[in-house]
């Protein structure tokens, strides 16, 4: 049996409200709030990037796991905002954690599902007996072009999971993947901001893959939506995951703990993994959790976890997601946001 032995998250403290962004572009804030269930989003401080978010989340995961970082055999960082185009984020993270030098590392990219990709690889490496522990991180300082619909949701955050084969806080029940070549969202090399297919990102992209992975894993495990205590679907906004859950036959009681996007935004590679972390903050031993990510391009990874007694022991060794999300927020205006996110053209 393999599963999660420790998890941790990091959310930057700054927030910007949807109204503040809408004000700048003459857009209708109410439409975003109601239509997409988005109220505010996290904004990385100017000194935060994918590597720093990853390290701070992973340190919380190490605290919960209570392991020696030297025993971590692999570090995978999934992100679409790696600080270097060439030079791994994973080496920075491994070095900062003290996991070097006997460690395998790779930077993963698959739009918003790069985080669960790392989890998939990490779980299978441990399952194969290659190493006692592997670390998978989903982290992003998400990009959204100024004025684009994505600007209202593109947020920053990270979730890190240490997987192992003993002392599990959550056991892995099963996994399933679903993937096709569907160009609904992309960012070309050297481009600052991603482009997307507008409404095409909905039914033929998000829904098709999320539903495909969900139905496949339910069929594979011979389970039904009502068998689960919790579900987390990738949350590019507050609307998509709720609609997906309802269409698939899940209820609010199942998705409410993992639904962070209304006040967090979309942390891209961190999105559904952070939802899983928030769910682990609440789950009781024996409860079942369904996690389904989505990455544009497109694909979904589905996981089923079962919480164990140990989850109760490790939970409070690091801050809970809701504490990071709801407490000590610093609201900023668009000017500071534009400066932090380097959207202001400066002299060289």
């Amino acid at each position: 049996m393999v599963g999660i032995v420790g998890y941790g998250t990091h959310i930057p403290r700054s927030r910007i409200k949807v109204e503040e962004i809408a004000k700048v572009w003459g857009a209708d804030a109410a439409a975003f709030k109601k239509g997409l269930n988005l109220n505010e989003k996290s904004v990385p401080a100017p000194d935060e990037d994918c590597a720093t978010l990853s390290v701070n989340a992973a340190r919380n995961a190490v605290k919960r796991a209570g392991i020696d970082p030297q025993d971590i055999g692999a570090v995978y960082v999934g992100s679409e905002s790696h600080p270097y185009a060439v030079k791994p984020t994973g080496t920075i993270v491994s070095e900062a954690l003290g996991a070097c030098p006997y460690v395998h590392t790779a930077d993963l990219e698959f739009a918003c599902k790069a985080g669960t990709e790392g989890m998939y690889i990490a779980l299978n490496l441990v399952k194969a007996g290659e190493m006692p522990y592997a670390l998978a991180i989903g982290a992003d300082t998400s990009q959204g072009a100024p004025g684009d619909a994505l600007e209202y949701s593109a947020a920053a955050g990270a979730a890190a999971f240490i997987v192992g084969a003993e002392d599990l806080a959550a056991e892995l029940v099963d996994t399933h993947c679903y993937m096709t070549d569907t160009p609904d969202f992309w960012r070309r090399e050297h481009a600052h901001y991603p482009q997307h297919g507008g409404r095409f990102t909905g039914q033929p992209a998000y829904e098709k893959h999320v539903f495909g992975a969900t139905n496949a894993i339910l069929e594979k495990t011979n389970m039904k939506p009502e068998d689960f205590d919790y579900c987390i679907f990738h949350q590019p906004n507050g609307k998509f995951p709720v609609n997906a859950a309802k269409k698939l036959g899940f209820t609010e009681a199942q998705y409410k703990y993992g639904l962070l996007s209304p006040t967090l935004g979309n942390t891209y590679s961190g999105s559904s993994p952070m939802g899983l972390a928030a769910t682990l903050d609440e789950a009781k031993p024996g409860e079942l959790i369904l996690l389904v990510s989505y990455g544009s391009g497109s694909g979904s990874d589905a996981f089923i976890f079962r919480a164990t007694e140990r989850l109760l022991e490790i939970r409070d060794k690091a801050p809970r997601v809701r504490k990071q999300l709801d407490e000590h927020k610093i609201y900023i205006e668009y000017g500071a946001y534009a400066k932090f996110r380097r959207k202001i053209l400066k002299a060289d």
Partner: protein
């Protein structure tokens, strides 16, 4: 090309590794060859907690090259739990409301970068200890 100069400080900046004198037990950050307290030369590496109290601070309004976009920002000398003082930026705070004695902890942050295309420098910064 300042890469080697920064790279060799990685253990101190990324993990706050310090030197502990095997004879008298005093801890130095950064580690040293000779213990300034007893003169011994046998040192072991220890990792600092990064937690401590603000011993003094300033708010930089006129910043040096490379830091101007961060101004105003606070820099503090922090008395760590292990007994020694360490300098670092204090972020995620209202610099105008910092006080000597404030409880701080560390996070991993981007410290500077060598222009738009050069090396990114990482290290520790202090933040208020809010249990986040």
């Amino acid at each position: 090309m300042k890469v080697p100069r920064h790279w060799r400080e990685t253990p101190q900046r990324y993990r706050m590794e310090a030197g502990k004198c095997s004879k008298c037990g005093s801890i130095q950050f950064p580690g040293r060859v000779i213990c300034p307290d007893c003169g011994a030369t046998e040192m072991e590496t220890v990792k600092l907690s990064g937690k401590g109290e603000l011993a003094s601070y300033t708010v930089i309004r006129v910043a040096p090259t490379g830091f101007t976009d961060l101004a105003p920002y606070a820099v503090g000398v922090v008395q760590l739990e292990e007994g020694m003082r360490v300098m670092g930026q204090v972020v995620d705070c209202d610099p105008d409301n910092l006080k000597i004695g404030d409880r701080l902890t560390t996070q991993f942050r981007r410290i500077n970068e060598e222009g738009k295309t050069g090396m990114i420098l990482y290290g520790f910064k202090f933040v208020p200890d809010l249990g986040l």
